[in-house]
């Protein structure tokens, strides 16, 4: 297993690039635990100082060190993204696998519901949700709301994997050779399902962080918690761009773009590696 990753790293440029980007982001997250300033405090350093040796990413108008703010922000955003991805993974796995393996009426009903959720535009609903919750809004609640709306796309992918697995000859063979259902699922099918789960998790993390940023920027979340989105929110509140405090905006935007591209590259390269056709295409060209 490790050898596979090592080979991927060495020969697949996307995987290597993705890993490096993600590692950079993760190192920022680790650094966040060593922040000398409590993240929610403001006016602990002189405000509006451009990037220099003392403050590598400058300070913002609220008197916070942008670099240390950023580390905490990316940590929170990432945690949020992972939490949502984890929760929605459970839903999409259950629905996708049940749908794919059972087939028939159950499959059709589940997929109708699935397609309905795919079509429904999320932003107005989440906005409405925020509107109703107002001060009662919390991160956990938001995570739950997003998880319950973000599973359909992945559920369909997992279902198609389950469908093809169910119909493959080696499944019938395993059944005939007397393997128990549990054995079949774990030993024969899991290696096919895991890569899809991995790549959809990466995509889901991207999606939830994206949505978090959007909602925070408009001020629809708890803006006291430092996240990428809330950082941009405060920057907008203090009209940072106009005032020339560009580092306040650029730092979180650049970091989050790095995160997105990194995770995306990982998901794409693992996906491509697993699909034998694309592997052959690589060899041919």
């Amino acid at each position: 297993m490790l050898r596979v990753f090592r080979d991927l790293f060495r020969y697949n440029r996307e995987f290597a690039a993705g890993t490096i980007l993600v590692l950079i982001v993760l190192s920022l997250v680790v650094a966040s635990f060593f922040s000398p300033y409590p993240p929610q405090d403001s006016y602990v350093v002189p405000p509006d100082v451009p990037p220099c040796w003392a403050y590598p990413l400058g300070t913002n108008s609220r008197g916070q060190d942008v670099f240390w703010q950023l580390t905490v922000a990316i940590r929170n955003s990432l945690l949020f993204g992972i939490a949502v991805a984890f929760l929605s993974r459970i839903i999409s796995l259950v629905i996708g696998l049940v749908s794919g393996y059972t087939g028939g009426l159950v499959d059709r009903v589940l997929m109708s519901i699935n397609d309905t959720f795919v079509v429904i535009p999320l932003f107005p609903i989440l906005t409405l949700f925020y509107f109703m919750m107002h001060d009662h809004m919390s991160w956990t609640l938001l995570a739950l709301a997003m998880a319950s709306l973000g599973w359909p796309y992945d559920a369909r992918l997992i279902r198609s994997v389950a469908l093809s697995l169910r119909n493959r000859e080696f499944t019938a063979q395993s059944v005939f050779s007397g393997m128990s259902t549990r054995q079949i699922l774990l030993e024969e099918h899991l290696p096919y399902v895991l890569p899809i789960v991995f790549s959809t998790t990466m995509n889901n993390i991207n999606w939830s962080i994206g949505l978090e940023v959007t909602l925070s920027v408009i001020g629809f979340t708890n803006i006291e918690t430092p996240t990428i989105g809330t950082m941009i929110y405060w920057a907008n509140q203090h009209t940072a761009m106009v005032a020339g405090i560009w580092w306040w905006v650029v730092a979180p935007v650049a970091t989050v773009i790095m995160t997105f591209i990194g995770l995306f590259l990982l998901s794409v390269s693992v996906n491509e590696f697993i699909d034998p056709r694309s592997r052959l295409a690589r060899m041919g060209v």
């Binding site: 309905t116 535009p121 925020y130 107002h134 997105f260 295409a281």
Partner: protein, 334 residues
Amino acid sequence: MRTYARYFLRRLGQFVFVVFVGINIVFFVTHATPVDPVEQAISSATQFGHSDPRAVEIMRKALRELYGLDGTIAQQYVRFWTRLATGDFGPSLSAFPTPVSVLIRQSLPWTVGLLLTSTLIAWGVGNSLGGLAGYYRKNRLLKAVGIAATGLQPIPSYIMSLVVLILFGYIWPILPISGGFQMNVSPDLSIPFVSSVIMHSILPVLSLVLITIGAWFVGMRSLVSNIVTEDYVVYAELAGVNRRRILTSYIMRNALTPQLTGLALSLGAIFNGAIITEFVFGYPGLGTLLVRGVNSGDYSLVLGIASISIVAVATAVFAIDLLYPLLDPRVKVE
């Protein structure tokens, strides 16, 4: 023809189902939360100074009626649906007494315009380039475009719009970054107005195109590189059929149908992207209206927009569904 009628009915059923589930979710969200919008509105109205309890009571009753929240849950549910059917959400609180439906009707064309233009451009250009990239694998230019597209694809709507805003608003300010048209131009079909509209829509359209084009390019490219190995393509190449004809008639045509499905499935996401982009650029569509509504505690407006969004996207998906069998003769119109 009869089979198409059946297909039409099935798709119509799906459309109704989607709207039904969506509106139910909206209803659920607005009624299952511990916050009562009426109390909220009252508390924000009475927070400055003392109010006569009778006046508050009258206000409460008025608001209840306005919001359709009087009576039992069942009555509220029925009223909810009738309101949706008639398109009447009551007056907007922030722009009292303008009805919500009027506000929505003013904003909707801007959103639809933005959506149509950017989706057509992104889908058309993205698919064409992706198709070429999938077929001419060695072409350096297409490879470079591919890398750019892969880089663009994961970036969410807000960040992309923000980046475009920063680039063209502060670093290279050559285009207007807010509003739908210039303030001092009167909105009629005159050249200054139309050109002003176009100028103001360039950046939002650009943002939305950049947001969505990556996915189409990458999807089409991988689709085409799979189709290229199909028997009928290999055979046509063996027969020396004109390469351009193979690309259009054999490859692209066959890739079109899955991409159309993809379009239908991602319309919800594209719509999301559109209203977020609108909000960033202050474009006078549903996005800006929505945020304004939330910030001013305008319950009817937010409700109205949420409901209309669902119906709009469901309609668009329905329209695409109807196009489908016309493009792929294999679709069993069962």
